[in-house]
């Protein structure tokens, strides 16, 4: 949306209320709408996909089973046998983020994962759960996680704060990774899209660079699909790794 000759790359992330006056009265934004849609799509994929309950699955059932098995394998291989207990959580998290990312690639749709408020809330939930799980399983012993083994006692006052900072910095690294990837991709799309419009309207000699920008945008869309799936996967895998640390404490 190149308004007035300048590129408004960040305007696409502005929250607006959705669903007309009803949404406006309760501040229901298009991000919330997309979250509901992502949840419904996940639910729909599993519900409709598993309807036939066929021994030889059709396409949709195959997709649903593959999703289930991929996440289950990831849980059990990363966390260990205890990972079965965390499978519903990781599955929900993975598909919420995956559908959020993928929906955002479509034109006129909103990417709720491009808001750090959303990713930070998810991360706070993950780190909070990891800490609660670790404390429930290990009790006071959990705090030995911050004490590296085989280290002289003199160094502990220095090393324990570093370990604690490293633990807390998961909050930022996990949320910023998802948020930055999604936002950067959409800003690039917006910028090159604006190039196409501005150069295409500037005259006949600018048609070549305009075409080039269009080609870049086509490539970027494909790249965005890759990033959308990859980042959802990375988020889920890191959640599993943190849960592994919580369950096994080193």
């Amino acid at each position: 949306m190149a308004a007035g000759g300048s590129i408004d790359a960040l305007g696409q992330f502005k929250l607006e209320t959705a669903l007309g006056p009803i949404g406006a009265s309760v501040n229901f934004t298009q991000a919330n709408l997309m979250m509901v849609v992502a949840g419904l799509l996940t639910f729909g994929l599993l519900w409709v996909g598993m309807r036939p309950r066929a021994m030889v699955p059709g396409r949709l059932q195959s997709a649903a089973e593959m999703c289930y098995e991929t996440v289950q394998t990831m849980c059990i291989e990363t966390i260990g046998p205890e990972g079965r207990a965390f499978f519903p959580f990781v599955f929900t998290l993975f598909f919420f983020i995956l559908f959020g990312n993928l929906l955002g690639v479509f034109p006129y749709f909103f990417t709720f994962t491009s808001h750090i408020a959303v990713t930070l809330a998810l991360t706070v939930f993950v780190v909070g759960l990891v800490t609660v799980v670790a404390i429930r399983l290990h009790g006071w012993h959990f705090f030995s996680y911050f004490v590296p083994q085989g280290v002289p006692v003199v160094l502990l006052p220095l090393l324990v704060p570093i370990e604690i900072l490293s633990y807390v910095s998961r909050l930022i690294s996990l949320s910023v990774r998802l948020f930055a990837n999604m936002m950067a991709g959409h800003v690039m799309l917006e910028v090159f899209g604006a190039f196409v419009v501005m150069l295409g309207g500037a005259g006949i000699i600018f048609l070549l660079p305009a075409g080039f920008s269009l080609a870049v945008n086509v490539a970027l869309i494909g790249f965005e699909f890759l990033v959308a799936v990859l980042q959802a996967y990375v988020f889920a895998v890191l959640t599993c790794i943190y849960l592994h640390d919580a369950v096994h404490l080193h």
Partner: protein, 108 residues
């Protein structure tokens, strides 16, 4: 089956495996030694990940230092201390990503 049976006929599993690999259905096993659980990252991905890990530790440390300074009224001291600790924690995060697997198992 016109060909005569050899001494040791390949089992069904073996034939299936070779057929699948011929058709490219079986992905080659992931290269070992990549810790952190995310295999096959591009150099761009590695750089982004390392950068985020280092900066996030620093951000958390500065926030904590600033908060403690504000709490105790020792304006610049704690923040300076926590910046150093945060830098160290960032390096620790990066080490956790790239540490060889055997070392991390033996060290714990």
């Amino acid at each position: 089956m016109s060909e005569e049976p050899s001494e040791r006929e390949p089992s069904f599993e073996e034939r299936l495996k070779s057929a699948r690999s011929r058709q490219g259905l079986d992905a080659p096993p992931p290269p070992p030694g990549n810790s952190g659980g995310i295999g096959g990252m591009s150099p761009w991905g590695v750089g982004l990940r390392v950068g985020i890990e280092m900066v996030s530790a620093l951000v958390v440390a500065v926030a904590i230092g600033y908060g403690l300074d504000w709490l105790f009224g020792t304006k610049p001291i704690l923040m300076a201390v926590f910046v150093l600790l945060g830098g160290a924690a960032g390096v620790l995060n990066v080490w956790r990503i790239f540490a060889p697997k055997q070392t991390s198992d033996r060290g714990r």
